[in-house]
Amino acid sequence: MLLLTPILLVPLSVALLCLLVPSRRVMAALGVLAFATTLGLGIALLHEVLARGVVREWSEFLSADALSAWMVLLISVVSLATSLYAGRYFERDMAAGVITMGRVREFFVLTPLFGTGMFLVVLANNLGVMWAAVEGTALSSVLLVALYNRRNSLEAAWKYVILGSLGLALALLGTVFVYAAACKSHPDSLPSFNWSYLMSVARQLDPLQLKLAFVFVFVGYGTKAGFAPMHTWLPDAHSEAPSPTSAMLSGVSLKIALYALLRFHILTTACLDGGPDAGFSGHLLLGFGLFSMLLAPSFILVQRNLKRMLAYSSLEHMGLICTGIALNSPLTIFGALLHMGYHALTKPVLFFAAGNIHQTFHSLEFRVIGPGVGKVLPVTVVLMGLAALSAVGLPPFGLFFSELTIISGGLAAHQITVSVVILVALLASFCGILQQLTRILLGARKPGDHPTDARRSDGVPAMTLLLGSLLLFSVWLPAPLLELMHQAAAIIGGKP
């Protein structure tokens, strides 16, 4: 029975439906339904992958191994939460006159399209199709970033599209180089561009060509994944987009780009394994991961805008995930995957809360918001506080465990410097986030500030769902999921 195709078709059809549906409520409900369905399909896929190893459809056009299944689950969860939140969010925006119905329709059409694109990235076997899917997500997300049609949003979208296109162009070059290397080793016929095929012939590919290709792919997809110093579009885009979109961007789309990069990393490692350049791709990941981790806190410390701060925090976490993968031990890769999952559960909550704050205070500047948000939006602040505690890596939330796993893995691999750098970076960003959030969330409203009375918070179901899952999965993971993640880690580690 087909699993992968419905995963792609359901959000696509919902996107097309939303073009026709008149009511905003129905559109929101359709979005929720779409992603709930994909979540269910994802769980079914999990079981299938555990049973069969790899699920293939359409003669290997679509292929899902453990890593893909894991990503499908992440995308579904985050998109589901976003859809849950988006309904009330846009209702308030429309009531405030900030946005028109047409734009709202745009959102509810583009978001499932965005989701479809992301699903295609993880399910496509063909590297070219994967690239096209990444391009698709880029296009849909650019339009989402520019949704509000404000000057800042347009500028952010402009930077996003230019840098994203540059990145994708480089990635295309890299992808083509890989194909060229494959062609070179098979002069007889055109080889398949499927990743599974390339993996099987990895040892025969020319190492130098592959290294070159990987460099291009790394810079290309790295731009999309938000590695420093190619991350410069990230703060603008993630802060100017509407909060539901920011949640999806920070929550999953960065990880999708990383996924694409990882496919190449696995390929390159398999090709260079045993040779003089073994670990080349790992070194690149390590270096840029650490660089991102060190750069992010310095921006967080002097940040003035709430969503930009959250965007830099995403930068930090992506750096940590990269570092975990680069350390290349089963434990650290497993920790990195866990980190991906927990982060995907945490970051959207923070963005949803930021959205609530934005809509209530009409600004994201710390100075304008002022202290005492807790008095105005008590429930939001409690949930945001919990999510912030999770994001800075405090127990009992899962990010604590995953961070510690990666750090201890660094020590186990005799890379004590790496562990020290990670600790320093985490500490610095902790200081920054704590300081900034304390400034606004705690305290009492100053006399001249407005508003001052307590209000009902929106989006509580979405936030509670995510936080509840986070807490649950911090202490217990169902066995099938654990098995899936171990398999995914094995795939990344190069031992499928």
Binding site: W158, K159, I162, L163, L166, G167, L170, L212, V215, F216, F218, V219, T223, P229, M230, T232, W233, P235, F280, L284, L295, P297, S298, F299, L301, V302, L331, G335, L338, P371, L389, L394, P395, P396, F400, F401, L404, T405, I407, S408, L411, A412, S419, V420, L423, V424, L426, L427, A428, F430, C431, L434, Q435, T438, R439, L442, G443, F473, V475, W476
Partner: protein, 676 residues
Amino acid sequence: MLLTFALWAYVAGMAGALVLQRAERLANVLGFGLAALGGVCGVVFSVSSLAAGRAVTIAPVTLWSGPIPDVRLVVEADALSCFFVLIVSLVGLAISVFSLGYARTYYGRKNVGVLAAVFNALLLVTTLVFIAGNLWMFLIAWELMALLAYGMVSFEHEDREARQAGVLYFIMSHLDAACILLGFLMLAQAAGDFSFASLRGIGAKLSPQQRDAAFMLFVIGFGIKAGAVPLHIWLPVAHPVAPSNISALMSGVLIKTGIYGLVRVCFEFLGPPPMWWGASLLAAGTVSAVLGVLYALMEHDLKRLLAYHSIENIGIILMGIGAALMFLHTGHAVLASLALIAGLYHTINHAVFKALLFLGAGAVLHATHTRNMEEMGGLAKRMRWTSLFFLVGAVAISALPPLNGFVSEWLTYQSLLQGFGTTTSLVRLMFPLGGAMLALTGALAAACFVKAFGITFLAQPRSDHARNAHEASLPVLIGQGVLTAACVFLGLFPTAFLKLLDPLTQQLTGHQLSQQLTLANGLVLSDATAQGGTVSTLGITLMAVYLLPVPLALWAMFGRKARTRIAPTWDCGQRGLTPQMEYTATGFSKPLRMIFKALFRPRREVQREYDFSPYFATTLRFESHMEEVFQTRFYRPVNLWLLRLSRRLRALQAGSLQAYLIYVFITLVALLLFAS
């Protein structure tokens, strides 16, 4: 099992208080009542375990296994754990009873349910820190402790000072958690396992550089938590702004977790110590003790004064522990046990009397609505019991016989004074120097508490609030009374208490010392050496009691005939004594401020406004500042440098799209060069 019951009592208290948030009184009674119950169970458990003399009370038990391999929560209790569980339970019990009355001051203002819940949670995680059996349990409990304490420091977060104090506290706590984590991971690396059982003696497997690095990390990490100079800057900022029962818990118990960590790591995990380890701890302890009390003397905020005193006492504890490590190096196990006993005895003593003083300060604060001693006064007549309890605490902390502070400082002196003969290297000079500094500290501490008690309680009230102060409620008094009784007991019956420390020293240094320390059927405390220095606090007290009939008899014989006339205090014939004639806290400490000018760098500003002659001023403004050396010389410059660096880096994200594109190209070119 009693300990399990205690832990579940805390959990129940936490849950109950949170659920009943709206019903303040119920939340108060339930939350703090269950905490008190847990405390009682904890005390009984720990005392019975120590008295039984077993080395291991609870064998390693896995509570939970997480999804990540090797991530488990293991608890294990040995003699050291039991001792610290005793501290947290006893102090927690007293503070819980106190809080039953104290929380009433928050009715209608703040969420009492949250206060009770977090209090229970704090007791729970602190106990878990002490009974942690592996790295994960320890770290999780440690971080949760920091988080909950941060929450409590920021309890009155409407006040900007409290918010900033909370942030500083949390940042320092996170820093110390990072140091401890790194140190533990280095040890776990060599052991291949995260459990404490496999970490015992692991230091032998590490290279000397690694051991030294690990030691430094642990000292910095646990030192921050304990509040040793120069890592102490958060302590006088955070402890005053928290609610007083939390301040008592923080000063009494939470900073002792640092001591617990140090003892556990240095004596069990790291193996035989080189000389410089103990010497550095001794030096750090001495500096902390002297600087702590000096800064305490200059304070006129009652709770800040007490917070600085905590730094001083931590210094004394570190001196004992440092001396013990030095004796371990030179091979004098008996002396090492003595020094360790001195340090640990002072730990529990400090927990008890510091908590008592903070509880008293809390009662005073509630009555006078200020922390500033310059606005108090005259409370001895209005708050009789509180002033009595505070007086006992002050006498105890000034190390005056026959109370407990005297006993532990006497033991510390004895161990230091005998250190001179243990080695021939130059390091032995540190011992008498340490002893001299300890004597200086003791004198300064006594002066400081004369000031604290005198200005706060004696003479006349300096403000309307002080004038209208009334005695605290019964639970508040009972809570203080429990700790006072503990002070007296620990002071008068040290020999009985020392028996409880036997399994501890047996485990850590291989010696049981209480037999040698006890003479004359338990009446006299000896220092277990050939010179045979002895002291008997019980004897002193009994002598005072026996001699009491003499003046009584004299009075009965001769004094009754004398007529007694009650007349006002001689005031040089003035219209009457007013509070303006009293000593101020600032004035009292001025001589010492002048003597230690080089440290304090006081700055004094007097501004005078007058109409026609400077001798008839209309307004007079007086400002006195002291430089906080560590903040201005180290922490603030580092902080500013970090922020400056961050601002410079911000230039990278200038907004120019061309620049961003160039970054990408540069990266690409660099990587291509790297790849070829």
